[in-house]
């Protein structure tokens, strides 16, 4: 990439590479399989990425302030367990269940923010630690069991609580897709069109300059971790609605997908920074890839190889861009 033309070519691919890849994959899968381009399959893809997208948008906000919230998977597991337990163990209503689930997530966000800001630790290391802590909290809360309707309680009785119909609707089309789109759009409006979002990007781009400009750096970092945890929790709640149960560590697999989606998103339209639309595009890329590969009968256990490779490529492009 020594020549100017080479640079321009790279810049072009940097900007539009993700969208081009998505388009290419759609064409290839569309030609290779019969059902890929059917309306139902497209809805299936959107549904399959909605939980990842919600969680990844939260991560995007923490990345925007220069942080990195690795505990999002655990937070999702915890919120999933809490919301299901509210219905199944305590017979609570739809509203109370979701509220309590989000309150737990809020607590997680506050703890993360406190530790990261107070001890000036590298965000990734600190949230790596809290990732295990909250995973443990979720496990302890559910006593290591799957929470579902009519489950057997430790004392031998059957749980009597019912999952509200509204909650199960949340996990189905169209609501699950609507929630995802609202989250993406709201995050975009917040980060791009409010001063609070711009402060976050300033902090993420150069926290010292932001501080000297008089921006309340700690306050916004705290806010970012709270938003990150709340959206991770929302992801866990929607996951609960989707599968109508809370399995052990159910949120954990979403961590890597969310990281991949957010980092793929850096390059979309040449933003060069974390952004919700980019993250959404990243999630679509992963979703299309998974869905198409499954249709082509690639075994599910090989899927991580592909996802990991896509993440590695996204990171390589982001860091190559930064140093050139």
């Amino acid at each position: 990439m020594k020549t100017a033309a080479g640079h321009r070519l790279f810049d072009w691919f940097y900007k539009y590479g993700t969208l081009l890849t998505i388009a290419l994959l759609i064409v290839i899968f569309g030609l290779a399989t019969d059902h890929f381009l059917s309306g139902t399959n497209i809805v299936t893809i959107l549904r399959s990425i909605s939980i990842v997208t919600i969680i990844a948008v939260g991560l995007t906000v923490s990345l925007a302030v220069g942080g990195f919230d690795l505990s999002i998977g655990s937070t999702a597991s915890l919120a999933n367990a809490v919301v299901l337990s509210m219905f199944v163990w305590y017979g609570q209503s739809f509203g109370v269940g979701i509220l309590v689930g989000l309150l737990f997530s809020l607590a997680v966000g506050l703890v993360n923010a406190f530790l990261v800001i107070k001890f000036k630790m590298q965000d990734m290391l600190m949230t790596l630690a809290t990732m295990f802590v909250f995973q443990g909290v979720a496990l302890t809360y559910s006593r290591g069991a799957t929470i579902s309707q009519n489950m057997i309680l430790p004392n031998g009785d059957y749980a009597t609580g019912q999952i509200p119909a509204a909650f199960s609707a949340l996990g189905k089309v169209p609501w699950i897709i609507i929630v995802m789109l609202v989250v993406v759009l709201a995050a975009h409006l917040f980060l791009t069109h409010t001063k609070h979002g711009r402060y976050m990007y300033m902090i993420g781009g150069n926290s010292e300059a932001a501080k000297l400009t008089g921006i309340a750096v700690s306050k916004y970092r705290l806010l970012a971790y709270v938003i990150s945890a709340l959206l991770a929790g929302l992801g866990g709640i929607v996951l609960g609605a989707r599968v109508m149960s809370a399995e052990v560590n159910s949120g954990a697999p979403y961590l890597m997908d969310a990281v991949a989606a957010a980092f793929i998103g850096y390059s979309v339209f040449g933003a060069g920074k974390p952004n919700p639309f980019g993250t959404f595009a990243g999630a679509v890329l992963i979703g299309v890839l998974s869905n198409g590969l499954i249709m082509l009968s690639v075994p599910y256990y090989a899927m991580d190889i592909v996802k990991g490779a896509v993440l590695a490529a996204a990171l390589a492009i982001t860091y190559y861009k930064r140093s050139h």
Partner: protein, 509 residues
Amino acid sequence: MVGKAEKGLLEMRGISIAFPGVQALDGVNFRASAGRVHALIGANGAGKSTLMKVLSGAYDHYSGEILLDGAPVRIRSPRDAKDLGIQTVYQEVDTALVPTLSVGENIMMESLAYDMKGKHRVDWKKLHREAAAVLARLRADIPTHKPVRQLSLAEKQMTLIARAVSRKCRFLVLDEPTAPLSRAETERLFGLVRLLKAEGVGIIFISHRLPELFEICDEVTIMRDGRVVAGGPIGGFTEAQIVEHMLGAKLERQFPASARARTLGEVRFEARGGREGGKVKGVDLCIRAGEIGGVAGLVGAGKTELCRALFGASPGAEGELFLDGRKLRIRSPRDAVRAGIALVPEERRREGVFVDDSVASNLTAVSLDPYVTSGWRVSVARMFEAARRWIGRLGIKTPDERAKVRDLSGGNQQKVAIGKWLLADAEVYLFDEPTKGVDVGAKREIYELIAALAARGKCVLYASGELAEIAGLADRAYVMYDGAVVKELDMREADEDQLLLYSAGGGLA
């Protein structure tokens, strides 16, 4: 009531500030007025940056008072200073910019932070319109949508100046703004300074480059050891007088008298067809035993790239190197060190020293072998002993050999960077801007070190944009322009004017 005489006057009275172990400022009085350009000058560590930091609100534990228009004002935070219209552009532009965001947003950053009380939505059209208006006022042509990370250094500086004048700006502090700029960029900056001056902005201009001060400034304040030692209209001083005040003793000849008294031997080091990307275009050069070969050229001429290529630090470099008639195979800095080539790089803090390590470990970093006992153990005692010996010999001002390099002044850091190669005893020494950011006193000591190296029969290649250095120190000079050597001058005959002429691309018609 504000008296007429005090209108537009900024005055700092009896400013003192201490840091652990240092009285950085001791009763400093400083005045600047609207529509004038004030030079603030002093050797490194004289306190000029500290004084300007006090003025810009970076510290809140100083004593003394600051008056604006004759009335006392309170400046204890950056916000206080900015609200009064005192803006500062620091030398290290990257510390104040957000690389991921656009030029427009970087310019309007303070408006976003201060002028949005009760508002939440950012009006992007208005923001870019206002940013563009500021840039137009400064006659700067930078697209406001461009991300700052894609800007050149001069453009970044312009963005910061635009930010400073985007809000109330009565006084503008420019901290060594020209150090990283090319001559053309410096001219542009001066045009801007004159423009702001005409608008009635008071400008405080910190620089190490004396000729510049005479070109652009109206008044000068000279600092030494935390005090103001002289000041007044700059016309009342000569360059030599200013340097005298800075150093506190009469400045003798800056360059060692011995510099040219050496006898030169045979050609020892030779490079043929040196190329690196588009930055170095086929350079041939040779150095004789005991010779100081100068590489003169302005910023961007390719001096740094040439030095790095000779040292094997540029993967894409081409060309052949010979030492004492032997062809060298150099593909990495490690090969170069083994072949006896040493590089003292321009970016001292980033590339030349380990700032968080002790002086002793820095000095012995290249050559640990002599301190190894019983075949494998590095003897710390011997290392320290050698370090102490060299600290004395190099005149490094440090509490002891255990002190961290981070805590030394720029000049002493540079002596450490040079010292580590003296201990390693190389044959060819490449110096890239070795006196950059170093005060006058330390400069002289560095020149002496380099002259002493040559006197021992070593080959020295001295790359510098400070043409007076080449004129004063080198036996022969290669003048670079746009990546190529355009002229070879015998410095026993040629002078600085000729160097400047060829460096600027002239004299070749």
